[in-house]
């Protein structure tokens, strides 16, 4: 059974059904969207369960020649990294559909158009993670922009249109550079776009470095890495909250996924050569994003900058070239999706109640909506990487993995944990504690639907905090393969405990 094709086609079928539904029955569209994404979730779980961590790197492979004239294949396959990102995608989509249950009626688009955009986007995202043909990947990478562009602009305000446009232009500019690199790779390479044919190419050093830059630019815009990040706060703040969850939760991960799969996998020498620059940018992103977050007055913009800071950590882990760093970075991609996703969803609930996203318009919510405040605090603590919650495991792996090779970069990045406690707890303090502010007294606690939305997020945040083992087991072989591609081994400890004879010291 062509598992991955089926997985990708289900949302397309769902989209077609939604398109065929009568416009005056928005509820039908909602249930269809939810059902479709739940089926995808179920199938993804099956795929993850059947993924053999001891098997070959790419599994569930499919390979059909598509455009033979240019050596383009319809080739699919997943490694461990792709599997966990598929899981992230599959969980977030139904959660966001359910969270947007009422939000989707308040845009200038019809419910079925709006939900159709969401569901169709899932196909594209699944495609980017599972394609093992570079051309196919590129095509899907660019296609992703279309539904997201319309989703960001769906409120129709000038600010939203501006934000959508900005998102599109940044992404297109990055994408064009990657396009040039893809074409150039075809020209100098083996006239194939198959990932398996593009490894170990022995390109001239200078060529490989230019090609690396082309790919890097596209992914650095998507991730987004400092200083290419300024589209993100606008997009997150002006777009609908559901769209923002998917944007920072999943779409942006294509950038960091691309770093690992393509920048490192295809151009190992160039990746090493550029590492100092990338590390500096990543550390700047960590600290700069955190300081920006502290200075924001808008809850959504704040979360966007938090994400910039966390993407910096992910990038750091990827370019540390250690198994801890890269496994941590991959796990961070998943964890960030859940912790930031949960925060954005709760902020969405707050905005729906109060009609504003200004931090100072809230205050004292804890007294009128204790459960809402409680889950908000839990998600905030996950965001500041408290041990026992999911993000800590990944953040610590990233920092330790970076430290063994790049002490200074890791040291600076670790200072980010101080700033993280400030931006998270200041946000919590201003919105949730203190006396009840005017207009906050009518804020209701979470409804049943909202509890159903937030419950899986909280469950994952806690579960992956205590027991990340199963996910890491899936990630490990994928990371090991990447390190093999880049010819890296982990630095050995300076002092081997086993090598030291037990000293007979008295102390």
């Amino acid at each position: 059974m062509p598992w991955l094709t089926v997985l990708g086609v289900i949302p397309l079928v769902g989209t077609a059904v939604i398109a065929a539904l009568p416009r005056e029955r928005p509820v039908w569209a909602k249930w269809t969207a939810l059902a479709t994404t739940v089926v995808v979730l179920a199938l993804t779980c099956v795929i993850a369960a059947r993924f053999d961590v001891h098997g070959p790197r790419f599994q569930f492979t499919e390979d059909v020649s598509w455009i033979p004239a240019f050596g383009i294949h319809y080739a699919l396959g997943v490694d461990g990294v792709a599997v966990v990102l598929l899981l992230l995608t599959a969980v977030l989509w139904p959660v966001v559909i359910l969270a947007s249950w009422h939000e989707c009626e308040q845009t200038r688009r019809s419910v079925k158009t709006y939900l159709g955009l969401f569901v169709s986007m899932e196909t594209v995202l699944i495609g980017t993670f599972v394609s093992t043909d570079l051309f196919l990947f590129y095509a899907l990478f660019e296609t992703m922009l279309i539904p997201m562009y319309f989703i960001i602009g769906s409120s129709g305000t000038p600010r939203a249109s501006y934000a959508a446009m900005k998102f599109l232009l940044y992404s297109l500019a990055g994408g064009l550079l990657m396009l040039a690199a893809v074409i150039a790779l075809y020209v100098v390479g083996p006239k194939s776009f198959l990932y398996s044919d593009l490894q170990n190419l022995h390109l001239p050093t200078a060529d490989a470095r230019w090609l690396f830059l082309g790919f890097f630019a596209a992914f650095a815009v998507k991730a987004p890495l400092w200083p290419l990040h300024t589209w993100l706060p606008d997009a997150v703040a002006e777009g609908p909250v559901g769209g923002s969850v998917l944007l920072v939760g999943v779409l942006d991960k294509v950038g960091t996924f691309g770093f690992l799969r393509y920048c490192l996998g295809l151009f190992p020498e160039a990746a090493h050569w550029f590492t100092p620059v990338v590390l500096v940018l990543a550390v700047i992103a960590v600290l700069y994003g955190a300081l920006q977050a502290i200075g924001q007055r808008d809850l959504l913009r704040l979360m966007a900058y938090v994400s910039v800071s966390h993407f910096g950590l992910i990038t750091l882990g990827v370019f540390a070239f250690t198994s801890q760093g890269q496994a941590g970075a991959t796990l961070y991609m998943v964890n960030h999706g859940f912790s930031t996703g949960a925060l954005l969803l709760i902020i969405g609930f707050l905005i729906a109640r109060r009609g504003t996203r200004g931090i100072h318009d809230f205050g004292g919510v804890q007294q009128v909506a204790p459960i809402l405040a409680g889950v908000f605090l839990l998600a905030s603590l996950s965001g500041l990487a408290l041990p026992g919650l999911n993000t800590f495991v990944s953040e610590f792996l990233v920092l330790v993995g970076t430290f063994t090779r790049y002490e200074v970069a890791a040291g600076f990045a670790t200072a980010g944990i101080i700033l993280a406690s400030i931006y998270m707890l200041v946000m919590y303090q201003r919105t949730m504690t203190g006396p009840v502010r005017p207009h906050v007294e009518h804020v209701r606690d979470l409804s049943l639907r909202e509890r159903v939305v937030i419950a899986p997020m909280v469950a994952v945040i806690v579960a992956l905090g205590f027991y990340p083992g199963p996910i890491l087991d899936i990630i490990k072989p994928g990371v090991a393969a990447t390190l093999q591609q880049t010819h890296d081994t982990d630095p050995q400890p300076a002092v081997q405990p086993a090598a030291v004879a037990p000293s007979g010291g008295s102390s």
Binding site: P227, T230, G364, V400, F403, I418, P468, G469, G505, S507
Partner: protein, 634 residues
């Protein structure tokens, strides 16, 4: 040397010591109002159960030969990436079991007390939930057999502290204090996390046995770096200079919280960290010296602040800071001081918890008044509180024969025995500190319990209910007796020796020269206080005071320093960066784009329909470009 033995018998259920309060916390936090009726009972039962288990383990441990007194209980393998083994295991040895008994023993008493103290709070069961969470995290901190497990517990107690300081977070002051405590602690956590990273890079492990068996192979610079980073962590958690500023604000929490977390247990975690890392510090003289300096500075710093505070809880908090300074000083002295530092930690657990519970009892009786200028003469209506508070007071000032006398004098003596200039300076600091301690603690007792009553007419002080007084009585017993039990015949030092090493010094003689001078300093301190606060009436409004008094009232400008050096510049920096991001970064990218495509202008005046066609035409352009390039090259 350190060898650990696999767990068997009662030690194979060590995990229950942590799991019981953790499970109770989960029930109480998630259970909601359903647990209101019986929540406090469960909340008390959990630490009591852990205490009983700890007692059994302690008895078994003492019965074993010395070399077998370290038992490792492997719980489960945590995140394992290649070369990164972080197994969670629990290690029961002399050091950890001492802490277990302190945490669960004193903890249980304070839990019982809280039944009465929090009786009228609608969220009492949540309070117990957080309290149990704290106990569980603190037990993980001391029982973990590696630095990562310690770090998880370390952050866990930080979370519990945050939740409990901010328990009444509808008060902005409480919410601010909670956040401040967490953020300042995070600075310390930065040190601890980097220390763990250095360990991993150097030794490839963070297990205690792994690291300690390899320290002899590491170069001193690395060990000093690890030591200093651990010290930074200890400064945060234990409110030592320069990370002391959060502790006084933390008194916003309910008083039992101040007693358990911010006096008896959590704030002593830094002392535990240094003592546990003895094999590292013993080979890192620079770091060790820094530890003693931090301890000596803080013990004076806290004592001076304590002299000027009119808020009874803040005076006691300053005293805690100062007493922990003694402990830090002691464990910085190396094998000569570890046992004394930990012993003082244990006796301090009794008498300081007793003092805080006494203060809570007084507040309970006076409508939550904390200003000592509005107390006075409370000994009469509250005899039990006065008696227990009084005994704890005598213990802390080092009245001969009481617990504080044994342990504090030992530290002063050990500091002098270090020898050289540093020994003299450290010993003298500790000696002067003892005098100041006697002064400020006498001031608290005189202003609160003696003299003329100064309370408002509508306040009717009364003795607290039995559920509150019994824990105070038991703690008073501990304040009297703990010193004998621990110190006579060097009993505790011998018990701890397998973990922290033997001291070459024989046990300290109570009648040494330093001991006599300390006694004199104490008498002088009490005498001055008596002159100032007993002979003269205490004004209801604080007098203006000298420069020194004002400085001490303002926490020796600790907050002012942080504000002017970190907070304000930080605020300006973030404001500048926000401006920079909006104008410069965003502007530059837009500007470059405008230079090439002229879209910046259009961005500002986008019309909705126009945007759509523009976007589609861009995408179309890309598609055509792909096709064209492929045609050419095909």
């Amino acid at each position: 040397m350190l060898t650990t033995h696999a767990a068997s018998g009662v030690f194979s259920v060590t995990w229950l010591i942590i799991a019981i309060p953790l499970a109770s916390a989960a029930v109480l936090i998630l259970g909601g109002r359903r647990t209101d009726r019986w929540g406090h009972l469960l909340g008390v039962a959990a630490p009591l159960a852990s205490f009983v288990l700890g007692l059994v383990e302690f008895a078994t441990l003492v019965g074993k030969p010395e070399v077998e007194r370290s038992i490792d209980n492997h719980v489960f393998g945590w995140t394992i990436v290649e070369g990164f083994h972080a197994d969670i295991g629990l290690q029961v040895d002399a050091l950890s079991i001492s802490f277990v008994l302190l945490i669960t023993g004193v903890g249980s008493l304070i839990h019982i007390y809280s039944i009465g103290y929090m009786a009228h709070d609608p969220k009492r069961r949540l309070f117990f939930g957080y309290f149990n969470l704290f106990v569980a995290a603190m037990l993980l901190l001391v029982l973990g057999d590696n630095y990562l497990a310690l770090y998880i517990g370390w952050e866990g107690v930080g979370l519990a502290s945050y939740l409990l300081i901010g328990f009444w977070s509808y008060k902005p002051s409480a919410a601010t204090a909670a956040k401040k405590a967490f953020v300042v602690n995070r600075v310390g956590d930065f040190g601890l996390s980097v220390a763990i990273m250095v360990m991993f890079a150097t030794f490839g492990t963070f297990s205690f046995t792994g690291v300690f068996s390899a320290v002899h192979g590491a170069d001193p610079a690395t060990l000093n770096a690890i030591g200093l980073l651990l010290l930074l962590g200890a400064c945060g958690k234990s409110a030592q200079v320069p990370l002391q500023s959060w502790l006084l604000d933390a008194m916003e929490g309910p008083t039992p919280v101040s007693a358990l977390i911010h006096a008896a247990t959590m704030v002593t975690a830094g002392v535990y960290l240094v003592a546990r890392s003895a094999p590292i510090f013993d080979l890192a003289p620079t770091a060790q010296l820094a530890v003693t300096v931090v301890g000596a500075v803080t013990l004076l710093f806290g004592a001076i602040i304590g002299c000027a505070k009119d808020d009874i809880k803040k005076a006691l908090a300053a005293s805690t800071m100062s007493q922990i300074g003694y402990m830090i000083l002691a464990v910085g002295l190396g094998p000569a001081g570890y046992a004394f530092g930990i012993a003082h930690l244990l006796t301090h657990g009794f008498f300081k918890a007793g003092l805080f519970l006494g203060a809570g009892s007084v507040m309970h009786a006076t409508k939550d008044e904390v200003d000592m200028r509005r107390f006075g003469g409370l000994a009469k209506p509250m005899p039990l509180t006065f008696a227990t508070f009084g005994l704890a007071y005598l213990a802390i000032i080092g009245f001969p024969g009481l617990s504080g006398w044994f342990t504090k004098d030992a530290i002063i003596d050990a500091a002098y025995h270090k020898g050289g200039t540093s020994g003299f300076v450290l010993g003298s600091a500790a000696l002067i500190g003892a005098g100041i301690t006697a002064f400020y603690m006498s001031r608290v007792v005189f202003m609160t319990f003696l003299g003329r009553p100064r309370w408002e007419a509508d306040v009717h002080p009364h003795e607290s209910p039995k559920v509150m007084t019994w824990p105070m009585i038991l703690l008073a017993v501990g304040s009297i007796g703990a010193g004998y039990v621990l110190m006579l015949g060097g009993r505790f030092a011998n018990f701890l020796a397998p973990v922290v090493g033997h001291s070459e010094e024989p046990s300290v003689q109570p009648a040494s020269t330093a001991g006599l001078v300390t006694l004199a300093a104490m008498v002088v301190g009490v005498g001055i206080a008596a002159l100032m606060y007993l002979r003269r009436p205490v004004p209801a409004v604080a007098p203006a005071g000298s420069f020194a008094t004002v400085a001490a009232r303002r926490d020796l400008y600790g907050d002012a320093f942080n504000e002017s050096v970190f907070m304000r510049p930080g605020q300006y920096l973030t404001r500048l960066l926000v401006f920079f991001d909006n104008r410069v970064v965003d502007g530059a990218v837009n500007g470059i784009a405008a230079f090439f495509g002229g879209f910046s202008g259009r961005l500002r005046y986008v019309q909705t329909g126009f945007v759509r066609s523009y976007a589609l035409s861009m995408l179309g352009g890309v598609a055509i470009l792909v096709a064209a390039l492929l045609m050419v090259r095909g």
